[in-house]
Symmetry: none
Subunit: 215 residues, 4 copies
């Protein structure tokens, strides 16, 4: 990911760098705090304490609390997109979808804060949530259209794609909540979850392949 390592020693930074550095510290602190306690408990006091700066400093970098909260998801969401893209091979469309599905669950283990940030955003950071949703669904619909063009999908209209994408996102959300949380952090999803997803998708959405062996 692009996350700056905030634990590094501060050596020689000019003004601009120090400024960016502080903002990043606050941002990372917010990620941690929201990931751990949720948006509702992510008070400015808690965030700045975690960041190791004064409360007032917060307002030198963000207009207000909400502005920061609304930036959280879109930013990490892009990291996720990049992560998933990197994990997607060149197999047939159906297999690729399974890879994306699996990569999603890999990502939430790499960035365990993401899950909570994603799930709660709708209610605590609606602006950021919409932005994220738009980011994702646009990209996803494009993928599906490309698959249709390649003949891997038939009989779905563009409008239906949009609905499908929301089902895919909703599925991941609910599955992650059900299967990824545990007492001590985020865990991998069981194999049968992936196989159920594979069956539903390869049979319901794609033409044939992908539905034989596990990847």
């Amino acid at each position: 990911m692009t996350q700056v390592d905030t634990t590094a020693k501060v050596t020689k930074l000019n003004r601009v760098e120090r400024n960016a550095w502080t903002k990043q510290k606050i941002f990372d602190a917010a990620t941690k705090v929201v990931g751990k306690y949720g948006y509702a408990e992510a008070s400015v006091a808690r965030i700045t304490e975690q960041a190791g700066v004064a409360q007032g400093t917060f307002y030198n970098h963000f207009e207000n609390r909400q502005e920061l909260l609304d930036q959280l998801l879109p930013k990490i969401g892009l990291d996720m997109v990049e992560f998933i893209r990197a994990r997607t091979g060149t197999a047939d469309a159906a297999r690729q979808e399974i890879e994306r599905f699996a990569a999603f669950f890999d990502f939430i283990r790499e960035v365990p804060e993401f899950l909570r940030i994603l799930n709660e955003a709708e209610f605590f950071a609606p602006t950021g949530y919409l932005k994220h949703l738009d980011n994702i669904s646009t990209a996803y619909v494009r993928i599906l259209r490309r698959a249709r063009l390649a003949g891997a999908i038939e009989d779905y209209s563009d409008e239906e794609f949009e609905a499908i994408v929301h089902m895919l996102m909703g599925s991941r959300g609910y599955l992650s909540r059900r299967y990824s949380y545990s007492a001590e952090g985020v865990t991998a999803v069981p194999e049968h979850v992936i196989s159920a997803y594979r069956k539903l998708m390869t049979r319901g959405l794609f033409n044939a392949p992908g539905d034989q062996d596990k990847p």
Copy 2:
């Protein structure tokens, strides 16, 4: 629904009845308030004002604010189950699933508060949310197993059913958020959403039928 008519005249009630009556008033008020403003804005002051009782009265009937909030979803959730069951015919399993899907969207128009209560509950009333999820997924898995017994579904294990059910619930959640909200209230979902769902399910989950004409 089982909602008591709180507008009726209070005539002759004995002590026990008056007590239950007050509790119900608070409960209904909470439903309205949460449905309209969300859990976060559902202060005890607002709920009791809506109920027409004093703030202190609240604590004669509920241990604390959270206890009430956690009861909201499970109670209405059961209403929903009942509503959907009543709308499910005797057609083949695939068609029934489409009926259930459609009935869900009918229900949220009948009880517009439900959507918000459902969607926010996960974060504001986690205990109630888990209870609801358990209620629903248990019932749903039972339905799927029955369909498998009847030969309408093949090749899915019980564990996979549970995963599927979460996908179904997640799909509904995301679709409802995307397509049912509008400026003035809750609206019907577009036809293409239902058709996309039908295609995905009948092809991906069930054997053959259901995927021809619209029901």
Copy 3:
């Protein structure tokens, strides 16, 4: 004055009385605090501390800080009007005006907080200030018209009366600031201030009398 004696022992008060009592305590505390430190320093914390109640209590009785501040001047202003009226005799119009002038300075010695509350209100409690100004100038214009009717004033139109009244109020304001403040509280104005006022008014506004001996 109508000010309740807030130092009295609380004996047996019913709910309504206790409520009014608390509100009065806050009101009186605000009077003291604003009188001593000015509106700008009259924080809710300071007022409630002076009143001996919790900060939260404040908001059970006033919508917000400003609402209380805006009530301060009009309320005390009416006390002042009453005070002055009681001190005005039945002499000729010019003499009565001198009596009012003197009574004003007596009042600010009786209620030393008044001066600051009055003078600062324009900027910190504009709503209350306008209300007060209206209260006073309406009453004052009425007095002048009556004097004109009685033949004690000639050659001034109603519009001019309004201007005159503002000059009278402005005069008192500036004079009080110049001559009434001192290191330890509010003091009487020197005799020559009153005589200057008497000369200006009896010669400039009224016909003849009043301008002979001091009252």
Copy 4:
């Protein structure tokens, strides 16, 4: 007025000049800000932003915020004295007073910031206010004594003059607040205000003339 044109291009200035220039920019910015928003809203941030300098720069030129605020009124006040003097003719003393009165209202239209700076100074810049008051009343008393020497005023002592001057200043203050403010800026006072003032003064303070036709 003596206001430096802060919009001029900065060409070749030596160190001392640049220094004075910066200070003047801050000063003018403060005048604008206080005139428009009042002292309370005149934060250092706002002033420096308006001046186009950094916040830190402020403290290279002024000890603290209050020091600047206290300089505002006396400085502009002297501009006003000069302005009024220039508008005062050589007529009899009573007429001259009316001219001064009118010139005051002309001035506040030329420098619309003045009104607010003057009116609020008492509470937000007390030190500066006292200095201003002293400036004005000293000059004014001198004028009145000269008129007395010339026979235009009789029967007022020096002490009474001081009181009279405060009445004059107070009158102007209240009248300006009542009649000069409007939705969009500072406007001329109605004719009847001037006539009322003329009557009161020429009859109450001066001997005879001045009180016939309008000047």
